[in-house]
């Protein structure tokens, strides 16, 4: 399209637009209806994190899976314990990655 024609159309459209409206009490009206700000509380997240970590630690404390898996991994032996450990770590990493991406998208 011809640029000068494009400019002419844009100029016509801009001319037709009235621009910003005067306040006429609008802002005051909105300010009267403004609710108190709710602060985002962080404690449920941290409580969940601590409870989850504590439960994991307790459940693995008396299980030989963690020690066996770690020992076999260091020895280079791909045992069932090692594979379980790797799968669990991969799963948790993926979950953390997915959660981070979702949080980033929301913002």
């Amino acid at each position: 399209m011809n640029h000068s024609y494009d400019d002419a159309i844009e100029a016509l459209l801009r001319k037709q637009f009235d621009g910003p409206l005067p306040d006429d009490g609008f802002s005051e009206h909105v300010m009267q209806r403004l609710p108190p700000r709710r602060r985002r509380v962080a404690w449920p997240l941290w409580a969940g994190f601590l409870v989850g970590s504590g439960t994991c630690w307790l459940s693995l404390l008396f299980s030989p899976l963690l020690q066996d898996g770690w020992r076999d991994w260091v020895d280079g032996d791909l045992s069932v314990s090692t594979i379980t450990l790797l799968v669990a770590m991969t799963g948790m990493s993926l979950l953390a990655g997915w959660w981070s991406m979702t949080e980033a998208d929301d913002r």
């Binding site: 399209m1 024609y5 494009d6 016509l12 637009f17 409206l21 306040d23 009206h29 909105v30 300010m31």
Partner: protein, 193 residues
Amino acid sequence: MGVADSAIEARIDHALVARVLLGDDRRAFEQLLRRHQGMVRAQLRRLLHGDEATADDLAQETFLLAWRKLDQFRGEARFSTWLYRIAYSCFLQACRKRSLRGGDMDNGEVEQLPALHHTIDLQMDVERAMRRLSAAEQMVLLHCVQLGLSHDETAYVLTMPLGTVKTHATRGKAKLKVWLAAWHQTADEERTP
């Protein structure tokens, strides 16, 4: 508004947002509100084809939402663009609720409006021509040309792919060019002695 002015305005907005978030400062929010209410209300009034009462209701909803969700503003877009996006989603929600949105008039016809020749009021003709565009073309031209947003910002506000925004802008202008051709001819004739 120049690039430098725009950058200064953006910095002022960011400072005000920071004051609201850090100090729960209602006065800072009031300043943001006073700075942007005019354009947000103008945007909504255009989207609603002049329905002032509904536009102001939606504008109020927009600012209340902005107040509640201010911590989600990360400053990637200008504050005004962020507000336009909230206002547009309020508008869409209202349309869904009350079927306010006018019929999509895009029937592929590109012809001159029969009554456009030699009518007295150019403004009215531009208004009529705008209403004949498809809803998407109207939205894109409103944001790109009349509200002065870039194509990227328009894509952000309308949650549309950038390519689609550009296509609608080009098509919309092409249709207006044909429909408003009579005005250009008159203007050309007036220019020629």
